[in-house]
Symmetry: C2
Subunit: 206 residues, 2 copies
DNA sequence: CCGTGGTCCAAACGATCGTTTGAATCATAC
DNA sequence: GTATGATTCAAACGATCGTTTGGACCACGG
């Protein structure tokens, strides 16, 4: 075997994550995917049944952890009697930042996640709703308690904008390129700081 | 001929816009595209040379107009000696809103535009940079003049976030669904109002 | 030692992809 | 009417897609 500590199934997930981020779900073929993973072409169908289900598993591996980390961070903040808006936003943003910085392949997955937002694929949206929906609802309730001047519709509008902006920023999208002199870690930490300040100001507006 | 006022070339562009928005660039095949446009399969290659070039033309048809409208709106704002941050943001956001509401197929194109952001395709990014880059630079200069307390790096960070959030909001992305009772027009007008207030607060922060 | 179940492999399947071809059809000018 | 150039058409091209097949390989319990 090539890498004794990484099974065929794991190598397929890693290669899928990389290729989905680079070429999209429809644009990544199983042939270049299995070539990158150094497994046989039939291994994807053998271990995951189909390409569609492989997409699901790529998300599940990361979203389960990200979701529980966000909810745990939210619980910690809510346990503090006098928490701030910035604390809540940090609880939402920092786990994604940690995934992006600390976990191998995490930055790649965030790009895959942004692709999933851009896809109108019904199955993918259901999958995201199942995994993200509960956490998003919990955050919306906590944010709403901090912002009594906002009605529910206004609050949801703003949370929606924040979630989109976060996904873009974390995925290194957008037109402005980061300077080559700035490290990936510094770049993402500043992104989180800016996004938290920006989002807090936007939520407090009016 | 089927629709005497719409040529084959135009019907291809319309069908391409719709299918690219729904299925992405790689996910939309020329066969379903030409079937939707009610033209022969070979018509795409005859009129546009290749599928890749068809993608370019779909963008060119809309971006040329959006770009000049934004720059014209920016000029109008800059002509007023005492313009506000909200005026500048409106000059950036409202032309896209107008495209989305008033122009037939405009809402569809905004979804295509969001797909282009999600694609890391080098050719597409160059095309966007060529069309959007100059306008974005002009807006950055005007915004920077309104925000002397921000250094260049901080300003570019925040503009980047705004551009991403705008694209998401206009494309009807995000998790929160709009209520069925709210019309598409009302929905998008409120999106612009919220985004302008949100972005202004974020830019002014600290 | 042989059998059994899990894994991997080369090869092929039918389907669909973007593109090309060459003739049919149309509009226009002489 | 006829020649000319633009456009449309059915059909096929080679390539690539996701998936399936049937046997080879390997580890392990009998």
């Amino acid at each position: 075997m090539n890498a004794p500590h990484f099974s065929t199934k794991e190598r397929i997930l890693d290669a899928a994550e990389e290729l989905f981020a680079r070429n999209g779900f429809a644009g990544a073929s199983l042939r270049e995917l299995t070539a990158a993973a150094k497994v046989n072409l039939a291994a994807v169908n053998y271990h995951y049944g189909s390409k569609d289900n492989l997409v699901n598993e790529v998300f599940r591996r990361r979203l389960d952890e990200l979701n529980s980390e966000r909810l745990a961070a939210l619980d910690d903040v809510l346990a503090q009697p006098a928490h701030t808006l910035e604390d809540l936003l940090a609880a939402f943003i920092r786990p994604a930042l940690s995934l992006s910085i600390d976990k191998p392949g995490g930055a790649t997955f965030v790009r895959v996640l942004a692709r999933a937002y851009a896809e109108h694929n019904e199955r993918l949206r259901k999958f995201l709703s199942d995994n993200y929906g509960q956490a998003l609802k919990a955050f919306a309730a906590a944010l709403g308690a901090c912002l009594p001047h906002l009605d529910k519709e206004e609050l949801y509008w703003r949370i929606d904008i924040i979630a989109g902006a976060l996904t873009y920023a974390m995925a290194d999208f957008g037109v402005i390129k980061r300077r080559a002199s700035m490290s990936e870690q510094t770049y993402r930490e500043r992104a989180a700081e800016h996004l938290i300040r920006f989002a807090a100001a936007g939520l407090r507006a009016e």
